[in-house]
Amino acid sequence: MDRSNVLEHLLLSRCGRFNGNGEILEFLEQRYSFNGPQKNYLVLESTDGGAIRAENDKKIAKENETVNDFLSNLNSNKKTTNKFNKLKTKNEFKKFIQTSIKHQDNVSKKLSKMIKNNPDIRDMEDIIDLKICCKILKIEDYIEMNILWNNYINELIKGCKTIDTITAKLSSAEYIGAYFTVTHCSCSDSIGIEGIVLWESQSYILMIIARKNNWKDNISIGKNDNNNKIKIKYSAREMIGGLRMIPKKKTRFTFRIDIENDENKDEGDKEVINFEFIGDRLCIKSLDRANKKFKSHNVKDIDI
């Protein structure tokens, strides 16, 4: 037996392909010959890569994903920074305000013309029955908001006994839904307007006012004399009511809080406190107002 290829012989003897010792020896003889079928070089075939390959693939995929995300974010950011995107809530709300105010102006113009031709319209029970007025915002739709606000504010000031604590709490409260009355304003037309607050922005308060219902109802010559009541005609604008934009600057609003007590269930016995909203000092967005630390300033801009 050839001593040279002991290891190979032993390995091949385990193999099922060879039936006897002779076959193995024959095979081994050809092993290192130049002309034989076996060549003395290693043949490497391409593999599927195994575990490392899979790991690498994962890494690459991850990288690609982050890059893709970044790119897509870039694209989407461009879209959201578009101020004039119609889908933005702010713009939609803006458009809603603009269109409804424009619509109100148009309708009031038409209505004043109609009243000239047909003065009976002035005595109509409810102006909203007219066909042109049907798209105008109605205060009746927003009463639910006011009820919600009343509950909220009652919960807020519950247990407060001094002016200090109540006004401090109210200064960081939300006023959307409150019923405001304009008492002082630089614009004399808007004095006396009362309505439900629809939105509070940095420098404006949007209110929805009632139709044919403001201070012009409550004028009387004598005290509590129903016979001597003066009747002032409502203008077309007041007749249709709707949305009003009132600047906060140089304006003061009053609002009423109905205090809910368990003891007084009778409507007339309810207790009421009036508060005043000084617009000059609250020219801040309502969101920022919650955390704002207020300071007293010179009062030269507040009219008495």
Binding site: N146, S171, T181, N214, I273, F294, K295, S296, V299
Partner: protein, 310 residues
Amino acid sequence: MLCDLNIGFPLSDFNETINNDQLIEVKKCINTSIILGYTHIALNFKPSTTTSNSNKNKISNDLNLINPINLEKDFSEFSGKIKIFTRITIKIDDPSQCQNFAKFQQIFDIVAVEPLTEKSFQSAISNLEIDLISFNLQDRLPCFMKHKTLCSAIDKGILFEIKYTDFLNNRNRAQSISNSKQIIRASRNRGLICSSGCSFNNSNLLRNSINVIPILKMMGIDSNRCNLMFKDWSLKVLLNGRLRIKSYKQTISISGDNGLLDNSLEDKNWDSSKNNKINNIKQNINTYKKRKNDINDNALDKILKKNKVV
């Protein structure tokens, strides 16, 4: 609206109470000022103590005992004729001893100081929350009046007071005129108020604004500003003080019947407050409550009623 923010109150200590003779004298003063056409007056309580010596132990901790002016009990007959407010003037000479000021701000409508030294004058402008600075014009001023200090005070909303009774007295008239000219010069003719400053037993020194204006004109103020000194600027002082009580940092204020100055709904009876649990009777919310039946319905109420009927 004519204002006189300085009608002397005869007491000089926190613990004293007013007696009948003094009360009659004060009422005489108020009656005279009604005849002269004033609409807003302030009773000036002037404690004789200064901040540095022994003031601390005399002020009680109970806020309801500090104010000796009981508007509800003593002056209720003037309601409707004239609006009476309360004012305190504190002499400060040591600026480090002013921690008690927070108490006064909640109790008196107007808080004024009378600085006796330059340091206290500086600190009153920069640190304290006050409405008014007044000087004793018959003595020398504590320091030279600079444009910068006075104007910074006026920008902050602290005004300066000139008392016209100082010119009517024979005593030290020249000194008081030169002092007030100093103040007018340094304040550049703005942010001044003119008040009587009459002490309680000489109501004959009270004058109408028309009689005082020539004196002020003599000192170089034009007539429009003379009017402002009695009207608008005085009201601004009053408003500043009232808003401190009625509102939270001038944002949301509780609303009286007549605007921001009004104190008709306020609880003014300091005596009855002793058994009340509220710390400061002026802040009591209960007197502001009204019954819903007493006020007119607004538009919302009408709509709600209509809905109920339907």
